[in-house]
Amino acid sequence: MTILYDESQQAIATESRRVLEARVSKDALLPLLETVGEYHRPFWDTAKEQGWTALALPETHGGLDLGLVELGLIAHEAGRSISGAPFLTSSFGAAKAVELFGSETQKARWLPGLASGETIGAIAFSEGPDALPRRPDVTLTDDRLDGTARGISAGLAADMAIVLANRAGTPVLAIADLAGVERSPVPSFDNSRCLADLHFSATTAETLAAGDTARDAALHILALQAVVTAHEQTGGAEALMEIARDYALTRRAFGQPIGAFQSVKHRITELYGLVELARANCIHAAAREGMADFITAAAAARLSATEAYDSAARDCIQVHGGIGVTWEIGLHLHMRRARSLAIEQGSSLFWEDILVDRLAGEAA
């Protein structure tokens, strides 16, 4: 069952949009593409100041006890304005891992910092093509991590990471303090994601879960993040659809607005459809947190949101013609972000398999 947003939730959406539109601009984001490891500090300061970092975490540890629905609303608005840093999702994933699978000591140590935003968390599961490797390269021996976690988003800025590691052939989920861990920056097409390879070498780590539990726990964290990201993708797609519509209304060719040509008109309308389907799946998935079908709902949201954002990037630029591919107009900021969000937390190929395994009753 899905939900209607109540007044306080609608207020969250309105307020966060207002703040972000005031503080984030493409002119601030464009230069970030040309440096490795820089993120948009005003965005992150805003997130902390507005309490977005604490939103979905338990009150007992500095959180606001709200949930995925509210965080999703923030993520949607962040996506519209092309969020200047990946921490909203990465820290949330890390915090949920600690909250759901950690000891009281671990919660007390990590959650307050993650809730205030002073601590930045990262999720180190993926190994290139495999979002959830069965035998990770990173190994855990006697509470010590060794090996390299590749292309970890937020990796350059994170203070701690939740790592999926291999302990004598079985997967384990562990918390690692990243202080003193060597990191090599990964220059990317979307540099504000602060991507890094994390080189663990006898790094102390505390185990959260082991064996199949660890894998299920990791998938659950990934699904929680995927729902947040899906909201962000939907916001980005929505922004692009509106940009395309506004351009089609003002730009003229052959003596009329190009929006009067059905090729443009219908292309934008198809985008509207993709955005609304993604939005509907996002709201549904956020409302299913904790229910038996949460992974299924998360996968559906993730798939439709990825399709919506990639398509919107392709088509919005196409509708603009030549001007659409210039550096300054910045539509490529969305196009780049569409791809990085499509890959973080597992590509569509990954989520299709997760989804069908469940629909066909083959879930692990």
């Binding site: 009067a260 059905q262 008109k265 219908h266 309308t269 509907a280 996968a299 299709e352």
Partner: protein, 401 residues
């Protein structure tokens, strides 16, 4: 929601009890005439049990409940394959419009009661051979005749006209003004002299739509349901009602579970098809699309329940669902290989892939083609410009045919 859930449970139980007499099994092998007769008895049973006109005013024999109860009932009813579709259009558009715009209240009430009990059927005479998606371009004309009117012309795609007792019709009463300003809305007796109904056979084999010819059909002015020249607005009101008729994220084709079952039952390239990425991808994509539509529909009901107007995204359903159903049905045939050839043209398109495939084009065209829906959303929702229309503002009789 508990009230509604309780109401749903009660309705579901009643429907369950009706299944042996009127359900899928009971209809097997019936001729269309027999099936219609069974349908009329089922409709009477619904009326007696208080499940007809669920969201209609009580003074017209309705139950005075909300739209939410109506769609809840429809969703439950859909499961049993009852012969209710003969009355879908009749009770869906023409009769509600009669309630809203009919002048002679006594007459209206009598008609509504008979329609609710399945004794009378109404059809909707809108489309014309020349028309396509251009409703306002219709050519059937009504000329003043004494203190009444005389109708001449042809309508087409009229569902169930061959079983209908009455119909609502839009005709041109003034060819000298721009096309949408010269229309008037009437009801007509389908048994009146000069009315000829000729069934059209569709590609899939069946024929529930008709051509309807009007030759000097005389009607009195009390048949008029709109101001003279004000028929277009009433016609649009009629079509608006359609958006609130229960939608189906399966595009009125088979449920996705049936595709999953098929994929589990056959092999592809030496392995179960359900393990093949091509098939998995289509299952996943279709699931995401359908779950999105379901969520949109549930939210629309919640809004109506909360007394709010649902968003325009509701109109996406038919566009994306039927289009996807068409390709998924083709893939289902590919999956069956040469076993797909075996064909029964009377199989249900909700349960049979070949039937779903062969009737999909009708689904993509009936009730607004993909292109019309795209234009409507583009213009009404996104505020994009209307297409170039050379006929705009030109007197109807000066538009080149």
């Amino acid at each position: 929601m508990t009230d509604l859930e309780a109401w749903r449970a009660k309705a579901a139980a009643w429907l369950e009890s009706m299944a042996p007499a009127f359900g899928r099994e009971a209809r097997k092998g019936l001729s269309e005439a027999e099936d219609l007769a069974l349908g009329r008895r089922y409709q009477k049973a619904k009326f007696d049990a208080g499940y007809a006109g669920i969201n209609w005013p009580t003074e017209y024999g309705g139950q005075g409940l909300g739209h939410l109860e109506k769609v809840t009932f429809d969703a439950e009813e859909m499961k049993h394959g009852f012969p209710s579709f003969y009355f879908g259009i009749s009770l869906g558009m023409p009769v509600p419009v009669l309630m809203q715009f009919g002048s002679d209240k006594a007459f209206v009430k009598e008609r509504v009661l008979k329609a609710l009990q399945g004794e009378e059927i109404w059809c909707q005479l809108f489309s014309e051979p020349s028309g396509g998606s251009d409703l306002a371009g219709l050519r059937t004309k009504a000329e003043p005749d004494g203190n009444g009117w005389k109708i001449n012309g042809q309508k087409v795609w009229t569902s169930w006209a061959h079983y209908s007792d009455y119909g609502v019709i839009v005709v041109r009463t003034d060819p000298d003004v721009p096309k949408h300003k010269g229309l008037t809305y009437f009801w007509v007796d389908m048994k009146a002299p000069g009315v000829t109904v000729r069934p059209i056979r569709l590609a899939g084999g069946d024929s529930h739509v008709n051509e309807v010819f009007f030759d000097d059909v005389k009607i009195s002015d009390d048949h008029r349901m709109s101001p003279v020249g004000g028929g277009f607005a009433v016609a649009i009101a009629t079509l608006m009602i359609e958006r609130y008729v229960a939608t189906d994220s399966a595009g009125f084709g088979p449920h996705l579970d049936l595709f999953v079952d098929l994929a589990k039952s056959v092999e592809l390239n030496g392995r179960p098809a359900i393990e093949d990425g091509r098939i998995r991808q289509q299952i996943a994509r279709n699931y995401a699309m359908r779950s999105g539509l379901d969520s949109i529909n549930v939210r629309a009901r919640l809004m109506m329940q909360a007394g709010m107007m649902p968003g325009p995204e509701g109109s996406l359903g038919k566009l994306v669902a039927v289009r996807s159903r068409q390709k998924l049905s083709e893939l289902a045939l590919d999956l069956q290989g040469s076993d797909a050839f075996l064909f029964d043209e009377h199989a249900s398109q909700k349960e049979d892939w070949a039937s779903s495939w062969i009737n999909a084009p009708t689904g993509r065209i009936a009730g607004g083609s993909d292109e019309t829906l795209l234009n409507t959303i583009a213009e009404k929702v996104l505020g994009l410009p209307q297409d170039h229309r050379p006929d705009k503002g030109i007197p109807f009789n000066q538009i080149p045919a």
